[in-house]
């Protein structure tokens, strides 16, 4: 009688052991997400909403039908792009906290071709995407150049430039870009030829979602399978080593920030071209910082960023449903976005103090 019991126990132990053989960083991340979902559920419980109903509504809101899934993907896209931009810079040793500003500049850039040339048909969309990427790239190159020229720490420069970009956009939509006679803080609407086409009628799913996934794949290839990616990672892991190799650390700083900003700029451009169809004050509401959180939660891995940003997208579309159907405040989205990154940082810190670092930090 005892034998099969022992066998089952052994099998169970084996399963547990196999589960624990998942890399430490993955386990820490999973624990962070599980912990924050538990806290989120507790919050919902405290609000007096039955948990079963809340879970059903949340699941239906995030993945229930084609519309829900496309909402989740549309929410995922800017966060994924900002995260990709951030992780390229951070892997290269530059602590780019300027995703929000690069996104704002990308959004502005996406409007420029239309304002300059008017409705010029099919050429407008590629020009707008390119212009958004370039504007984001230029904005992110400034901190890199300031670091080289003056040794100005990029953490502070990128943080400050976020707010300069936010107020600059506000200025544009209240002034130069505001249509004559309008009192709203927004620009004129783009012609349909200049917008990202919808992939499925009746949903918000736009081409930018696919392009963002392509960018994620591209970043992964670049980091893992190109000489440039190797040099980038080396310069982030050990600037001294790169100098010993006779390569210019400065060139890596500038190019990693330029690429980072271009990807961040795409995030803003796609929001304008695929979601808003115009430049609106306050369209971002902290997307840049959420993207940064995604990058850290993904352990600075592009493919990880896809998964984590999908979680962020799902949280956002789920909380929309929770708000409309169960009147649960949508502020829950920010709480559930902030919590996992806090838990991750704390768990990693405790492990660091115990001498088992999860991350090899770039600073």
């Amino acid at each position: 009688m005892a034998e099969p019991m022992a066998d089952q126990m052994g099998a169970a132990l084996g399963l547990i052991r196999r589960a624990l053989s998942v890399p430490l960083s993955m386990r820490v991340t999973l624990a962070a997400f599980a912990g924050s979902l538990v806290i989120g559920l507790m919050l919902i419980g405290l609000l007096g909403v039955p948990l079963g109903a809340a879970a059903r509504v949340a699941a239906a809101g995030a993945f229930g039908d084609m519309r829900a899934i496309s909402d989740t993907l549309v929410f995922m896209t800017p966060r994924l792009l900002v995260a990709l931009g951030a992780l390229v810079a951070i892997r290269g040793g530059m602590f780019n906290l300027g995703g929000e500003g690069q996104l704002q500049m990308g959004a502005i850039g996406a409007m420029l071709p239309f304002l300059a040339f008017g409705d010029i048909g099919v050429a407008l969309l590629p020009l707008a995407i390119l212009s958004g990427a370039i504007c984001g790239g230029i904005w992110a190159t400034i901190p890199a150049l300031l670091k080289l020229w003056r040794g100005a720490d990029e953490v502070i420069v990128t943080l400050l430039m976020n707010f300069i970009a936010i107020f600059f956009l506000k200025y544009l939509v209240q002034g130069p870009m505001q249509p004559v006679g309008s009192n709203f803080n927004m620009s004129a609407q783009l012609p349909s030829a200049g917008t990202l086409p919808l992939l499925i009628e009746g949903t918000r799913l736009h081409l930018g979602v696919v392009l963002a996934l392509v960018v994620a794949f591209g970043v992964w290839v670049m980091l893992q399978h190109t000489a440039f990616g190797l040099a980038l990672r080396a310069s982030g892991a050990s600037p001294g080593f790169v100098r010993l190799q006779g390569q210019s650390a400065g060139r890596m700083i500038v190019s990693s920030m330029a690429i980072s900003g271009m990807i961040g700029g795409l995030a803003g451009a796609f929001e304008v071209l695929g979601v808003q169809y115009r430049l609106i004050d306050g369209f971002s509401a902290g997307l840049g910082f959420e993207g940064l959180a995604v990058a850290f939660l993904a352990g600075l891995e592009p493919m990880g960023a896809v998964v984590v940003s999908l979680y962020f997208g799902a949280i956002n579309s789920a909380t929309l449903s929770l708000q409309s159907q169960l009147s649960i405040p949508s502020a829950l989205a920010e709480i559930l976005s902030g919590l996992p990154i806090i838990l991750l940082a704390v768990i990693s810190g405790v492990l660091l103090a115990k001498g088992r670092p999860v991350w090899t930090s770039t600073r």
Partner: protein, 313 residues
């Protein structure tokens, strides 16, 4: 163009009023950075202070109590944040980014749950201005600096006390030692983590008071979602630009406050600049100043580094 004394006095007074929340938070940031703790979560701490003060005002009806409760809210939030960054050795930047996200959501949730049902605060029961005897009668400066809310006088006193504390007291020496070389301080038998916890909570006190001032004194007691709008990040820049010197923090904040004041007083001074550009101006000036310093100023050597006993540097 001729300005009368009243216009200039009002302009200076507006600069003081507008800089106050940021100046208070920046004083707090200067202290925690001196102790080696980089509080990126300052923005979130200000938000918690602001929402706590709004709740306090709704509950007590007293602006003074609201300020006290807001300060307490900031301190409590800072204690939780410091449990992560100081005790658990979490990466201070990553933790701060997450904390600020959480703070936006949590304070908005508190507003929707607690403040929507609160009775309207009625008349604007803000903190009344306090005219200092004799000084307030001085031309120009009297109206500019000595007819302010009591919080301003408190901030000046705190700045001077902090300056004296950092420069002359044993506590100040210990605080700076923890920021410069935590391992050596530890080897000397001083409690590194409690000192850092204390500094972090003090930052919360100041950021909480700053947020409460923003809500109670500057905004008539109404909490608006994300009402800090980047002031916490600006305060971090001010603390660093002022080289963590309290009196200099006040001066830098005041100059940036004057820039912000242009949006209200600018037309009387004959300056026509779009409001959003003026709102961006403090950030632009802070950035230029930051570039001007470049490598010159040495930060506390252990700034941003979690304390690990026995780690050699």
């Amino acid at each position: 163009m001729d300005f009368d004394a009243v216009t200039i006095a009002l302009f200076l007074a507006a600069g003081v009023r507008l800089c106050l929340p940021v100046a208070l938070a920046a004083l707090g940031e200067a202290v925690s950075e001196r102790a080696g703790v980089f509080t990126i979560g300052l923005e979130g701490l200000m938000l918690f202070g602001a929402v706590a003060s709004a709740v306090g005002l709704a509950m007590t009806g007293s602006p003074l109590m609201a300020l006290v409760i807001g300060t307490g809210g900031g301190a409590a939030a800072a204690f939780v944040l410091a449990l992560g960054t100081v005790l658990a050795r979490a990466n201070q930047i990553v933790m701060g980014i997450g904390f600020n996200l959480l703070a936006i959501g949590a304070t908005s949730l508190i507003r929707q749950l607690v403040l929507t049902n609160a009775p309207p605060t009625g008349s604007l029961r803000t903190v009344t201005m306090m005219k200092l005897p004799w000084l307030a009668d001085l031309p120009v400066v009297g109206r500019a600096f000595f007819s302010q809310s009591p919080v301003f006088y408190l901030a000046v006193v705190i700045a001077v006390l902090l300056w004296a504390m950092l420069r002359y007291s044993r506590l100040g020496l210990v605080l700076r030692a923890v920021g410069e070389n935590a391992a050596a301080t530890d080897a000397a038998g001083l409690p590194v983590l409690p000192i850092r916890m204390g500094a972090a909570v003090f930052t919360g006190v100041m950021a909480g008071l700053g947020g409460a001032t923003l809500c109670i004194v500057a905004s008539g007691g109404t909490f608006v979602d994300n009402m800090t709008a980047g002031r916490g990040y600006l305060a971090i820049a001010i603390a660093i630009f002022a080289r963590w010197k309290p009196v200099r923090v006040m001066l830098v904040a005041f100059v940036l406050g004057l820039l912000e004041a242009l949006q209200f007083q600018g037309q009387y001074l004959g300056i026509q600049i779009a409001t959003p550009l003026l709102m961006a101006a403090p950030f632009v000036v802070a950035l230029i100043a930051w570039i001007a310093i470049g490598r010159a100023g040495a930060a506390p050597a252990d700034l941003g580094r979690p304390f690990l006993r026995g780690e050699l540097r």
